[in-house]
Symmetry: D2
Subunit: 300 residues, 4 copies
């Protein structure tokens, strides 16, 4: 969520439709819901869905996600956002208006293993991921075919730790050109620098192939096999500068047993990774995730 200074200055009015969302985070105190709902009512926005959470009713933080319907947002959104500033200021809100028709632009990063990329492409083709996939960036050529077949630009950028700086400059350049809103690391096996991450706060979603915080770091399936666990999992989280320590969006697991060798664990794990990442990305695109400290509030 951005503070109001960060919200985009220009709305692409023509395509706003009638469905909007309002995400708010502010110090909890009486009267917030009354003030917001009065504001929306007066701006002819009908509340369709509303989810609220306070992490501590006595002096904690208040979170709300409201989905509303307001015909002709193209005409009214700018005024509504401007009017909201006074209310936001009164309650010290961080907030964000988004519009369902204004689809987020996504970049997908991938290395050799294509299963997570394929899942995203498949969900996107089926109309289940409300996004425009602007480009795919890979340090391998292997997935070029399937990406370009869908009319999505594919950029092959070889990468290793010695040329990390140049690689990231090239990547950032592409991401800016394509006005990317969200970056999905679909099993991209290169470490990102602090500088890269700082360009995209809470906008980079990773899939880690373990049930974090178990098996942080490399080779999680090998280590799960050595430990003899009876369940394996996957974790999707926002990327921060603490490796594998960012806010968790979604996790899931499957049961395994002594017959599953490392290769078997990887196969099972791929299926978990696919669905965990797809869910996390979908929730992000629908503005269902609010980051607070190192945790997420997911309203679904």
């Amino acid at each position: 969520m951005k503070t109001k200074e960060q919200t985009k200055p220009l709305l692409q009015e023509a395509k706003l439709g009638s469905r909007g969302r309002l995400l708010i985070k502010c110090p909890d105190r009486p009267g917030i819901v009354a003030a917001i709902s009065k504001f929306l009512f007066e701006h002819e926005a009908n509340i369709i869905e509303s989810n609220q959470y306070s992490n501590n009713p006595e002096g904690g933080t208040f979170f709300i996600r409201i989905e509303f319907d307001r015909p002709n947002l193209a005409e009214s959104a700018a005024q509504m956002e401007q009017d909201f500033e006074m209310l936001a200021s009164e309650f010290a809100m961080e907030y964000q208006f988004t519009y369902a028709e204004e689809r987020k632009k996504m970049a997908i990063f991938v290395s050799k293993e294509p299963h997570c990329l394929l899942e995203l492409l498949w969900e996107w083709q089926s109309g289940d991921l409300p996004t425009d996939i602007a480009l795919v960036i890979s340090n391998h050529e292997g997935t070029r075919g399937m990406v370009e077949a869908l009319g999505i630009p594919f950029y092959y950028i070889p990468a290793n730790k010695d040329i990390r700086k140049q690689v990231e400059e090239q990547q950032i350049q592409l991401l800016k050109e394509h006005q990317v809103d969200v970056i999905v690391l679909a099993r991209y096996m290169q470490i990102l620098t602090e500088d890269f991450v700082s360009h995209f706060p809470n906008q980079i979603i990773n899939i880690h192939h373990s049930f974090l915080p178990a098996f942080i770091g490399a080779r999680p399936y090998e280590r799960a096999h050595e430990r003899g666990v009876k369940l394996i999992g996957a974790t999707s989280h926002y990327v921060t500068n603490d490796l594998d320590e960012g806010p968790i969006i979604e996790q899931d697991i499957e049961r395994v047993n002594h017959r599953d060798d490392v290769s078997g664990l990887k196969k099972i794990g791929q299926s978990i990774e696919r669905r965990v990442l797809a869910r996390a990305v979908k929730w992000h695109l629908e503005d269902r995730v609010i980051v607070h400290g190192n945790k997420t509030i997911v309203f679904h």
Copy 2:
């Protein structure tokens, strides 16, 4: 949920505490949330948790559950409820105020198999079921010991279809005496008459030992075994006069395989029944369930 005419005339003021809940069902239209939240704010009630759902944004039904904090409810609740009538009338609301400290009085009906009763007693002892267990009624003597050991009155009322009318009269008499708010059928194997059910609309919770609507009726585990299913389940629902057809509150399943005979399915099933019933009862006690037609909205 009761219409306002049905709400209890006298609040037991002394024990209301500061935590209240407001459940509302009404025709959807703009401004409902604004009106409610303004009302609560003006009555110094701070919204702690709020869940809303509209089954059809264009002309459907609007549902909301609000949990609020308002010090000294004992002094203010009666006035607040009275003031709310005008608002309720304006929006044609069915609604219900409840107070966390005003615990519901529960009756548990059980036959031979004690596992669901035991689970409820155990959750209640642990402080996880906010209720007063007023009495246990059984057509078998088997569970008397464990019930009376906890200081709960136990009534043995033999039952069979020939004496159903007398049995139910006796039961209704006891339920009235104990001012029971909710009846849990914890594997009570007698059919209730239409008359009995009509006394307690949406107040009788049953556990059915199958994943409804599969295996409606008798002997579900035997039939599941004959069919060779790979999962078995249990369903908790409100009792209506259509046997096994009432609004479903909760369901769950577990995996089985060809090695599980009928007796094995029953053992696994008991564990599912226990947790499904316990969850459904808990949600009912916390006023998280709204019945609408033959379905439930569960806000959790």
Copy 3:
């Protein structure tokens, strides 16, 4: 499982490799395991994995699946199968030798919805389905592109109930030409006649979009929504002439709630259908499924 008369007369010896499987069903009695394991030992076949089940130790049916390693099966398999006949006869066994390298030939039938077809193609491409996909048959043109892109023959055969007989003759002709061993109905929405089914006993695998036996027949998601269930599921089963009543191979479910409308249930359901069908097909291809009456024994 075939009786021995049905086993293929000619082994394609060149490609047998060293890994074989032996599936047996026979009346239970002492000494079966001893006789089989002695036989395999004497034929230099080392048991890698063995699963056994008796549905009733006293006078029931005995089932076993053995996976063995025997170098140079190309030279020895025919003799081993011939030698086994005496043992099989002594114990009145139905049995089947299969060889991992002799991959089953698969036909996939599909109508409009491509998600199950795509899942199978994806698993097959990843090396997870040990099969040769011989052809895809559809009554719609929609999936031709993705099928032919993988070099798999695609046959468009329009179908409706008036021309069912001709359609099925054409299909059977193609299946015979391609020497198909297994037919997967990946959301093929035409009913198959008794005659068609009788050509392929226990060789046709269907995915039904509900947790059978709940919602047998048409429009399961609509009916699940009307009933207000809290879980939805999918079922993969062998096709028999009783619609939706064939032996169940695999089932799974996911949790839903009041917010999921019919369209939402279908989306969630597609994800369940994909994984349930993929598992069932995989187990069939690995000879892990024995049909007995209207049930399956799945050794995994």
Copy 4:
């Protein structure tokens, strides 16, 4: 599993019944199954269920669990075990004969939280845990009532790290007197010394209140809450001298969300702990678990 030197010298013949189990671990090589099944057949033992696993078909370790039926084991078991020694020696087997009627003697250790103890008592009362509960040892008095009500001896032994040595001597003394075969730590919050553990190799079963190896050590629910995980779990394992690092028998998880505070996580966790521990104990009592290095093979 014991080596043959460790097997009990005297069988309590009178109560052996007809159901036996044979667990074997040995270097893999051809002919093992043939030899074992021939042996059992010649000793008139009919194989009811058999599970086999090789961790590496080429030069690895072979594991088998056989359940057999042999009338009048009281007369024949001693001779059968003696005859087996030659076979065991030939294949360098570690092995163990057990008899279903010869129920294991169990001790349960518990501290303040009674939920795991209660689950075990409940399963035992229902006939689902084939064991004799010989005694309960606790460093708190809280559970004395429920234990003694079932006729089970209860020993209150206060414990803390300063008197650990004396406490354990007293415990070992009691365990020897009661001829205990298996010790279940049902949320016993004292650390056991290396000396104590060495007396009971693979005979002490613990429940850890996290999904190991995540949150090894103290306060796992607090740490899970801090990390913002979306699933919490529990792990049952054999106790070794590496704290929380012993061979895992069973794990399970449940979904949580941002609304669950630490206290909520503990409640949910208790329900997971109960069922995970109950399953692990049951499998141990049915001789379904073979320990190999730091892992378990669980045949179920």
